[in-house]
């Protein structure tokens, strides 16, 4: 009876602490603003099919380069395509690229970082040297070099983002693994005969995943920026796919005719990066106050 009571107490406590994290997040005004923006952007990207007034590649050549009208709330581009609709669909590209590449980086970085931390010393030095060398490139220059060879596409963008962001995850995973490697519970597990794979995946992963998830949430705006930047240079999505970067690219070409395309491509991009940054910082403050110093 007594044991049962204490068990239910502890589960209550756990529920309360989870709840209080959320309360803390919402109490932070920037966190709340970030959360609202992120929810709005994500839902408008998911619902683009229903809420966009036009197809993103539908032409209306008579109404080209128009300013805002009741028919086209954010005006049209040089082919008479509705900028609002293109902007809504552009959110899909930005968010899916961010989601895919951040998850890939996280998984690969986690794996390589654990390998470096847990594996033999030589492998560790080699991997660290490779990570440092990847960080030695200015990101955009690396992207330009890869694109010259492979040709521009969304997959190239994802590959570039993954390669340049993996070292960040791997470094954290490696440091944490090195710290855990000689703790008593890992030694105990190993002396019971656990194989390295088991130690890594069932004991080290749960202990290193939290800071990696925080880094991932803070990397989302960075990745969105890289995709938009490359698409802005005409090296990301292929036309007629709409991305905030490609809308900006067209808007930049016609900047002396109409400011509306630049506004429609840039403002959602600014809002999204701000929203994710505010949310990421609030999450970090709530879940890992130790990281705050960096």
């Amino acid at each position: 009876m007594e044991a049962k009571k204490s068990f239910s107490d502890s589960s209550d406590f756990r529920r309360e602490s989870r709840f209080s994290n959320l309360v803390q997040l919402v109490k932070n005004p920037l966190g709340l603003i970030g959360l609202i923006i992120v929810i709005a952007i994500v839902s408008s990207a998911i619902c683009a099919d229903w809420i966009a007034p036009y197809d993103y590649k539908a032409f209306d050549i008579k109404a080209r380069l128009s300013g805002p009208t009741w028919d086209h709330l954010l005006g049209t581009d040089n082919l008479g395509r509705d900028t609002l609709s293109r902007s809504l669909y552009g959110g899909r590209v930005a968010l899916s690229v961010a989601l895919i590449s951040v998850s890939l980086s996280l998984v690969i970085g986690l794996f390589l970082g654990m390998l470096a931390g847990y594996g033999p010393r030589r492998l560790d030095s080699l991997l660290v040297l490779i990570f440092d060398s990847i960080r030695a490139f200015p990101t955009i220059m690396f992207a330009l070099a890869v694109i010259t060879i492979v040709g521009p596409s969304l997959n190239t963008v994802i590959a570039v983002v993954v390669i340049t962001t993996v070292p960040g995850y791997a470094r954290i995973a490696r440091t944490q693994t090195l710290a855990l490697k000689h703790t008593e519970f890992i030694l105990a597990e190993r002396s019971l005969g656990a194989k390295p794979i088991r130690v890594m995946f069932s004991h080290i992963v749960p202990n290193v995943i939290a800071p990696l998830l925080i880094l991932a949430s803070m990397d989302i705006p960075v990745v969105i920026t890289i995709e938009a930047g490359l698409s802005f240079l005409g090296l990301g999505v292929k036309p007629p796919t709409a991305s905030w970067g490609s809308i900006l690219n067209l808007g930049y070409s016609f900047i002396r005719d109409t400011p509306w395309m630049v506004i429609a491509g840039g403002v959602p991009l600014i809002l999204t990066t701000l929203g994710f940054t505010f949310l990421g910082e609030a999450l970090r403050d709530v879940f890992d106050p130790k990281l705050k110093k960096d």
Partner: protein, 314 residues
Amino acid sequence: MLIYIIKRIFLAVLIVCVAMLLLLSAIHLVPGDPAGVALGPRATPEMREAFRVRMGLDQPFIIQYVKFLANVVTGDLGVDVWSNKPVSSIIGAQVPHTLRLTLLGLGWAVIVGIPLGCWSSIRPNSWIDRIVGLISVSAIAVPSFIIAVYSLLLFTVTLRWFPAIGAGDKGDPWDQFMHLVLPSFAIGLGWVGYLARLVRASMLETMGENHIRMARAYGLPTAKITYVYALKLAILPTVALLGVGVGGLLSGAVFAEIVFARPGIGKLVYDAVMTRNYPIVMGGVLVTTILYAASTLISDLITAALDPRVRENL
């Protein structure tokens, strides 16, 4: 200190070499064919073969890499596909433009960002501190190429206060400066935010230390304590970050040069990507990587000169 300098320089050279090895092997491994990419789909097999021989792509990978490094050491980066001029002189002509832009961007970020960080650290959690914090986060979050495009829209297209195309008249420093204002504003803005935050955080840490409390107890003026005693210590992590910052600024400079149609490495490499001019792209990537490595090297050496503890850790 001498041992540290030698070790650190060796590390910088090693990292640049490994970085280029990674890049070349990535190019080697991907299914695309540089000759096909450079010459376009209509090239005949003979033309492709000739291109491969001319660029040394027909040789084994290791030989290509060693030759590449040997050529780099002698300052030979190959010849431009289109004009047959040496790549090193084409890039060399653009480096000063990019350096000027990067340094001016960094310069105004340092001049504004560091005092801003000090200022907000004097009264932590006051409304000044909160506003500075909010502005810093926003400045960091907004992509610099958006700032470039919007400042072009506002100050060049709409208000016509600043010129956009080119780097300005060669003999007219004022004209050149006017051409630099908007691009350096755009690439430096994010760094104002970074520096303000970083300086604030390390100031707050330093302010709690004994010698600062001692200075306070002696009744020294707050301004002197903040800007002389505390800043001297709190500036260390900032110096270390500035070197890394140059890498970000170089990326930003690529966009700023394209948006404002300025000459520079970024514009050069971008145009080369568009015309599939492989040697220029590789040379540009190499030169920017070296610039980046050099700037982290310099900031690390300055940090080591200021802080003996750092020297022990390499």
